[in-house]
């Protein structure tokens, strides 16, 4: 179990209510610095709401305690690029004076001619890598990834997570990863937060393969009392 100095985030009694509808119900969890926490749950479970709340975008009660100054890079699930005449170069340059070619190297996009393509015409896998590159541009210490491989074929999915894993180790980044893929949770996450408005499981990610835990997550929602620092 990590001591409290190792935590980058402590969340307690987090509640989000919008128009009398409870979206997050007494959510408690801690996240260790430099680890990946997978966030799992059915549609409408409050996963994206949680990330938005952590971004301070949603009115909430309870406490969100970042133990150090955080710079958050965000990869959203949906982006709307089809109708916008913007090139990859222009997109990556927004608010950044970085060397774009090395940015592309970071996300293993080797063909630099992609910089002059329109965002709306690149493939799903390329777009996800571009979004990750964008999120990494500011040298964040925390990454929020909301289904970062949605729309990506299975062959391209694994290399993206490998790349993120290397990045995490190299730069001690803490990653919050929303996914539906149990294999990805098992392989690439350290801890797991299962949500169904309340927390249905909070603990080690490796336990995801255990049938009891799966029942706990996917069966009738049973809210669990999470202990601080449970891993």
């Amino acid at each position: 179990m990590a001591n409290s100095n190792g935590y980058i985030l402590k969340v307690s009694n987090l509640e989000v209510k919008i128009q009398n509808q409870v979206l997050l119900d007494h959510v408690n969890f801690n996240v260790e610095k430099g680890t990946t926490m997978a966030i799992l749950g059915p549609n409408g479970a409050g996963k994206t709401v949680l990330l938005r709340t952590l971004l301070n975008r949603v009115p909430h009660t309870g406490t969100i305690d970042w133990t150090e100054e955080v710079k958050i890079g965000y990869v959203p699930q949906y982006v709307s690029t089809a109708d916008i005449p913007m090139t990859v170069r222009e997109f990556l340059s927004i608010g950044n004076g970085v060397d774009l070619e090395s940015t592309l190297d970071k996300v293993r996009l080797t063909d630099k001619s992609i910089l002059d393509k329109r965002l709306g015409v690149v493939s799903g896998g390329q777009l996800r890598r571009i979004l990750i590159a964008w999120a990494l541009n500011d040298n964040p210490n925390v990454l929020f990834l909301d289904e970062p491989t949605s729309g990506v074929d299975m062959d391209s999915e694994e290399p993206i997570y490998l790349m993120l894993n290397e990045f995490k180790k190299e730069h001690k980044i803490t990653i919050f990863l929303i996914t539906h893929n149990i294999h990805i949770v098992q392989e690439y996450a350290d801890s797991l937060l299962a949500l169904n408005k309340c927390v249905t499981y909070c603990g080690a990610a490796a336990k995801i393969i255990e049938p009891d835990i799966q029942r706990q997550i996917y069966g009738e929602p049973v809210c669990v009392e999470t202990m601080r620092g449970e891993r």
Partner: protein, 262 residues
Amino acid sequence: MSEVVIYSLVTAIFVGVSAGYLGSLMVLEKMALVGDALSHVALPGLAIGVLFNFDPLVGAFAFLFASAVIIWHIQRVTKISFEALVGAMFTFALALGILLMGNDLETLEEALFGDITQVTVYYMGAAVVISIVAVFLTKLIYKKLVLAMISEDLAIAKGINIAKTNLLYLFLVSLVVAIGIQIVGTLLVGFLVIVPAIAAKNLSGNMRKYSIYSAVFGAASAVPGILLANSLSLPPGPVVVVVGISIFAATVLINWRMKLTS
């Protein structure tokens, strides 16, 4: 060339550029019709200006901006679409304008169709200053607004205050639409924010070209339109629209040709 024609041409260049440039964002936001409808909101403001003897354009701007803020606020609270709210607001404003101006058909016609022959040095100066300020400030927030169109989450993670940025943009659009009314009237001023931008979109592979072409096509519609109307003794507003639509038609053909040859 008479003084009035020179004033109107200078006004047309600046208003064309600023309306085209700001309109390029409106088209991307899929709010093209908002730009059009918003312009009609100016009518009661013009009417009140005429009735109470102050500059109708001040009234027009006050109504435009107040409506934009009200619509922006209602949209945030109720989540009803911009288009629907603007639709409601503009028919109400049109009704109010006609009620206020009902007995003064000549003024109503001037407000609806514009009259650039009435442009004064004072008006030209105001149009130049407002256009420069609007383009400059829009340039500062242009990328932020585009980022928010791609994903609001991305923009917020980047520390952009979307609500404030949108409000500033609506304020600037209100200013530019208000000065555009004198050229083409409230009925047609929506043209200046929509058509140059969609023409530019046909020819642009990147954002820089898109925003520059939008501005250039705005001026390229307004200036020849006014010259042509002047030499043929036709009302300038509709001629400006016809010139702009011709440019748009040409870009459709060029776009089509580019796709065929690529």
